[in-house]
């Protein structure tokens, strides 16, 4: 009897967990492409409170994507994307830079993330 009760509880817990995960929508994925010395797109707009996955994809060599105020510090190499899921809670316009030195035009490799 006791054993049956434990099994029932476990099944109920697993079902509840599956139900919970099924109800939570997958975060929107925003892909950012990087190549020497530019990002594409140059601007990304996010919504405050929205869970979103930023995916950095490099098409040539190692690059970074750094937005300190949003806690974004991604690395990507050719064939090895990097990603992070964030829920921005502050509206604003945030400059984003490549922080993996990639050559003489590296200083101009930047984009903007807008949270509205």
């Amino acid at each position: 009897m006791k054993r049956t009760a434990i099994i029932v509880i476990l099944v109920a817990l697993i079902a509840a967990a599956q139900l919970g995960s099924a109800q939570e929508p997958a975060p929107r994925v925003v892909e950012i492409s990087a190549k020497r010395f530019e990002f594409n797109p140059k601007q990304v707009t996010l919504k405050r409170g929205e869970k979103v996955t930023l995916r950095l994809v490099s098409t040539d060599r190692a690059h970074g994507l750094l937005v300190k105020p949003l806690g974004v510090d991604l690395d990507a190499d050719d064939g090895k994307p990097g990603e992070i899921t964030i829920t921005p809670d502050t509206a604003g316009t945030f400059p984003a830079i490549c922080d993996h030195y990639c050559g003489s035009g590296h200083g101009n490799m930047k984009m903007t993330i807008v949270v509205e």
Partner: protein, 329 residues
């Protein structure tokens, strides 16, 4: 606690018409109790005691750079060498804080730039010259060319009672020191008492000066936590192409001017090199001296910043005189 230095209180701008970089004078105060302790320690460990001395910091020579912000190429660097050589009292050593060369996608061309740097720096009368890499030297090849020319990218040494630590925060490609070097730093410092005067020289700032301009080191806080127990820490760095002075806890952080072109004040919106001015070709490229002593620190510090200048010739005419045959602005 972080605060900007009061420049008037902290610095005395010399009227001397001398060159570029930074002349630092260290007075370990062998006459004080602390100085005596340090003197005994270093004599026992290294066979040398403490005594006053001076050093020069030169930074961001970017040999090989071609572009509108500095059409004069290596002229400021060459002028700096002449000026340092002309100092009545020659410094004990010279610290180069990175971006010795400007990178090239062609490794052979980059190697030539390292050779050109060594050719110019080799004219310095001071033979004890220590280097750390900047991202333009070491980020694309992980420091291979730098090591071929100057040895390891991080190391330490003692000089007359001061412990010098060279830190590499560029050759991983990212602005980071890294776990391996941090472990080495802890081990390196372990033999010193908390009163030991320590000078760290590196390329990028070890604090968040302006991350969106890449003026930071991602694990700089961790580095400074390792250094925090030490009472007398001075960090000398380059990268930002302008003087900057900050006190965080017990540590002084000093950025040196460059020898190629200047960046604007970090309070400005855009990071664009300040435009070349042919009437004042070395404007914003200059010398800093650190001198003096403090009763409360084992060595220390009054810093003088002086712009590099052309002594005998001036204005556009002076610039034209500096150009070699066939060169033009």
């Amino acid at each position: 606690m972080k605060k900007e230095f009061d420049r008037r209180a902290f610095m005395r701008v010399s009227a001397m018409s001398i060159g570029a970089g930074a002349l630092l004078q260290f007075s370990p105060l062998a006459t004080t109790a602390r100085g005596s302790t340090m003197s005994r320690l270093f004599r026992r460990q290294n066979g040398e005691g403490t005594s006053p001395f001076s050093i020069v910091q030169l930074s961001d020579t970017h040999v090989g750079f071609q572009g509108p912000p500095d059409p004069l190429g290596t002229k400021a660097f060459e002028r700096a060498v002449d000026v340092v050589n002309a100092l009545d009292q020659q410094p004990d050593l010279i610290l180069f804080t990175g971006d010795l060369t400007h990178d090239s996608d062609d490794p052979a061309e980059h190697a030539k730039r390292f050779a050109a740097f060594r050719s110019i720096s080799g004219r310095l009368r001071v033979k004890k010259r220590m280097h750390v890499p900047g991202e333009h030297d070491a980020a694309l090849d992980g420091g291979v060319l730098f090591r071929e020319n100057f040895g390891e990218t991080h190391y330490s040494f003692d000089h007359r009672g001061v412990h010098f630590v060279a830190l590499d925060n560029v050759s991983h490609g990212k602005p980071i020191v890294g776990a391996e070097q941090l472990a080495w730093l802890k081990q390196d410092l372990a033999r010193f008492p908390k009163t030991a005067p320590i000078v760290v020289f590196t390329h990028r700032p070890l604090f968040d000066l302006k991350p969106e301009w890449e003026w930071f080191t991602s694990d700089g806080d961790t580095v400074m936590n390792v250094l925090a127990p030490y009472e007398s820490v001075t960090v000398l760095y380059g990268h930002i192409h302008r003087p900057h002075h900050t006190l965080i806890g017990n540590a002084q952080h000093h950025a040196a001017r460059s020898l190629i072109f200047a960046f604007p004040d970090p309070s400005t919106r855009e990071k664009k090199p300040l435009p070349f001015n042919s009437d004042q070709p070395f404007k914003n490229l200059g010398i800093r001296t650190i001198s003096g002593s403090s009763a409360t620190q084992a060595f220390a510090a009054g810093i003088n910043d002086v712009e590099l200048s052309i002594r005998e010739i001036s204005g556009s005419e002076g610039v034209m005189q500096m150009l070699r045959e066939g060169e033009s602005l």
